[in-house]
């Protein structure tokens, strides 16, 4: 008789279910105006983001990242888990088709959710995170109504961050009033991505019925200013 047999409940067997996933798609403005200091800080911020997520064991298992750059709109990184994510080196070019980028991001999130459901993988509410320094050069009507509709149905959370030069008033018409756009303080990309990593980590370890407290990015020491 083995030792295990003598301990009650010693030979209970467990299911190995896949980890639930916490999807996040970054919509990154790579238009010509981002050239220079901004893109250098953004690239550095993305590397920090990957490192931070990897150092959080729960986030590393559960967070999935995707990247859409604009313009032109390109799916630079399909959804991937953190351990397989390598921060890309972004090169600015072209105009700012923000509307098409938002629409693409929403489509990617919906398609990913369908895949999760098909494979019986649980998931958290996806995040769509937009970073831009300009004003859209395409029509954002369809994208705006898709954001409003998705937020109203709680199918995802949409965040918009404006870098120096961004049309904040225009961003405010796209984002929902409960999640107004945030203005990046100077070149605080690094701080932004540390916050994003911590926030996603918090979501990825939350239990049913638990509200995830997010650090206020507009606090004096935060990376953003409101509006």
């Amino acid at each position: 008789m083995s030792g295990l047999d003598q301990v009650p409940f010693g030979n209970v067997d467990f299911v190995s279910n896949p980890e639930p996933r916490c999807p996040c798609v970054l919509l990154l403005d790579t238009s010509g105006s981002m050239a220079g200091e901004k893109i250098a800080h953004l690239n550095h911020g993305l590397r920090t983001f990957a490192e931070e997520l990897r150092s959080d064991s729960m986030a590393a298992k559960r967070v999935e990242l995707a990247i859409v750059t604009f313009g032109p709109v390109a799916e630079l990184q399909p959804f991937t888990t953190v351990d397989a994510f390598a921060a890309p080196e972004l090169n600015p070019q072209g105009d700012t088709p923000m509307g098409a980028a938002i629409t693409r991001g929403i489509e990617m999130v919906n398609a990913r959710k369908a895949e999760y459901r098909q494979h019986g993988i649980g998931y958290y509410r996806p995040w769509i995170f937009l970073i831009t320094d300009g004003a859209s050069t395409d029509d954002v009507t369809a994208a705006t109504s898709a954001v409003r509709d998705g937020e109203a149905r709680k199918s995802f959370a949409f965040y918009a961050v404006g870098v120096e030069g961004a049309d904040m008033a225009k961003l405010a018409t796209i984002a929902v009033p409960s999640r107004p756009p945030l203005k990046l303080r100077g070149m605080s990309f690094r701080e932004l991505f540390v916050w994003l990593s911590n926030s996603l980590g918090g979501v990825a370890r939350s239990q049913p019925g638990e509200q995830v407290p997010l650090t206020n990015p507009t606090a004096p020491e935060g990376w953003a200013t409101a509006g």
Binding site: D13, N17, Y123, R205
Partner: protein, 248 residues
């Protein structure tokens, strides 16, 4: 008659941030010979979730006991009544304490096993599993909504629309009730099936107990099991498990 064991353990995620265990259970063999089980999981975001879970589970058991004290009671009606009575009790408590009902949010899972009929009820996540024809199955699929970190609670305004109740086959001789923390160890999500390796494993020690009533020593072993490293490394939420088996 019935024999049973029950235990709960505070989640490591709760210990880390200093929140108390918000799971509660109540079990009783009524004078009518019914095995009564109530399990409630208090919401992490609710300030008095442990009190809400305590009230919901204790009130439900008292209601079931009262129902079965009468002759020829329909177990399904008794469970439906217990759900409604428990919900009202928590809402009344919120009013008396002058707090929002959501501060007392909890799920509620009920089982009443009787000599002449059995029934179960559930709102929210967690699992009631029964063994029938040598196979384990869940009674209600856990109510998670679209996202894994959301569920339903007994105090919600539309809870009456989402409380599920069902008769159980008279041949059911074994049952396990758990809060959602154990779900990923016991339920295979892809196939939506109850994993017999888990349920057979937890029921096996109880089958060796000859006497009716709570197998108290086994309940202690059950708690040690819930607190063991092999469970802990897979489940960091509060954990509750109640197992019951009919004695010949």
């Amino acid at each position: 008659m019935w024999r049973y064991s029950a235990a709960k353990a505070t989640g490591t995620s709760h210990i880390k941030v200093g929140t108390p265990c918000q799971d509660r259970f109540a079990c009783k063999i009524s004078s009518s010979g019914h095995m009564l089980i109530a399990v409630a999981d208090g919401a992490g975001s609710a300030s008095k979730a442990d009190l809400g879970a305590e009230l919901a589970s204790a009130t439900a058991i008292a209601s079931l006991e009262e129902s079965f004290a009468a002759d020829s009671v329909d177990p399904l009606e008794a469970v439906q009544t217990a759900m409604a009575v428990a919900r009202q009790r928590v809402l009344d408590e919120a009013a008396e304490m002058e707090i929002e009902p959501r501060e007392l949010s909890s799920t509620l899972l009920l089982v009443a096993l009787g000599p002449d009929g059995s029934a179960a009820g559930q709102i929210g996540d967690g699992i009631i599993a029964v063994k029938l024809d040598d196979a384990w199955s869940w009674v209600f699929w856990p109510q998670h909504g679209e996202f894994v970190n959301t569920t339903r609670f007994v105090i919600e305004p539309d809870a009456p629309d989402h409380i599920e109740t069902s008769r159980l086959a008279p041949e059911v001789r074994e049952v396990a009730v758990m809060t959602d923390g154990l779900e990923p160890l016991a339920i295979e999500y892809a196939s939506r099936s109850a994993y017999s390796g888990f349920f057979e494993g937890v029921l096996q020690p109880l089958r060796a107990v000859a006497s009716a009533g709570e197998a108290e020593q086994l309940s202690q072993h059950l708690q040690a099991f819930l607190e063991s490293p092999r469970v802990r490394e897979r489940a960091d939420d509060d954990l509750t498990l109640v197992i019951a088996s009919r004695v010949e």
